[in-house]
């Protein structure tokens, strides 16, 4: 079951914050966040596991609300290098495949 991401696209000025949401209609085991720059492969950002804690590194963090079957990715003080398409991927149980959402295109401008 494909997760739903919102917004579809967002434009930020450098230094602004953004939140990208990912929701599922089914119970989640884990949520994976990836960033893909144009013409490149998706790059793993972080994984949030059921029962786990909020994760983050540098100015990118994420939360996982198991009850609401949602995850949010927080980008603070955005940099030009944050531009790209952000995909969330969801896993419904320990051995089911990762299913990606349609992505959120983030553009950071100077």
């Amino acid at each position: 079951q494909q997760p739903v991401q919102s917004p579809q696209a967002v434009i930020l000025r450098e230094g602004e914050d953004a939140v990208i949401n990912c929701s599922s209609s089914k119970a989640l085991y884990s949520v994976h966040w990836y960033r893909q720059k144009h013409g490149e492969a998706p790059v793993f950002l972080m994984i949030l596991l059921k029962g786990g804690e909020q994760k983050g590194h540098d100015k990118i963090s994420a939360s996982f609300n198991e009850k609401k079957q949602q995850s949010s990715l927080y980008l603070t003080a955005s940099q030009l290098s944050y531009s790209g398409t952000y995909f969330c991927g969801t896993v419904n149980s320990g051995n089911t495949p990762l299913v990606f959402g349609k992505g959120t295109r983030l553009s950071v401008i100077a």
Partner: protein, 114 residues
């Protein structure tokens, strides 16, 4: 740092021809995947492979597709009779000891079917 590699980076073929896309996953990983991404669209799951057999496959992965791990390092995707709509970027990925572990993607093979 270990990485997933894929060859070729770009493959051009005629409709109806067979193509084999090759991947070398990270050496101690146990789970292997193929994904497809049509230009400008989302990454779509094709198949996962564990313990020398397919563990999951999507409806995209029909009889025209097959996967193989012919030796201890390579993981291949074969498309038997390519169609125009097979044109896409194909990504291989691998993950460690659990299916839900983070997946590391290769750089992709751009397949163009003429």
């Amino acid at each position: 740092e270990p990485e997933v590699t894929q060859t070729p980076s770009h493959q051009v073929t005629q409709m109806g021809q067979e193509v084999i896309l090759r991947c070398v996953p990270i050496s101690n990983h146990l789970y292997f995947y193929w994904y497809r991404q049509i230009l400008g669209q989302k990454v779509e799951f094709l198949v996962s492979f564990y313990n020398n057999e397919i563990s999951e496959k999507s409806e995209i992965f029909d009889d025209q597709f097959s996967v193989e791990r012919p030796d201890g390092s390579n993981f291949t995707l074969k498309i038997r009779s390519t169609k125009l709509e097979d044109s896409a970027m194909y990504f291989c990925a691998s993950s460690g000891t659990r299916a839900a572990d983070e997946q590391f993607f290769g750089p992709g093979t751009r397949l163009t079917v003429l």
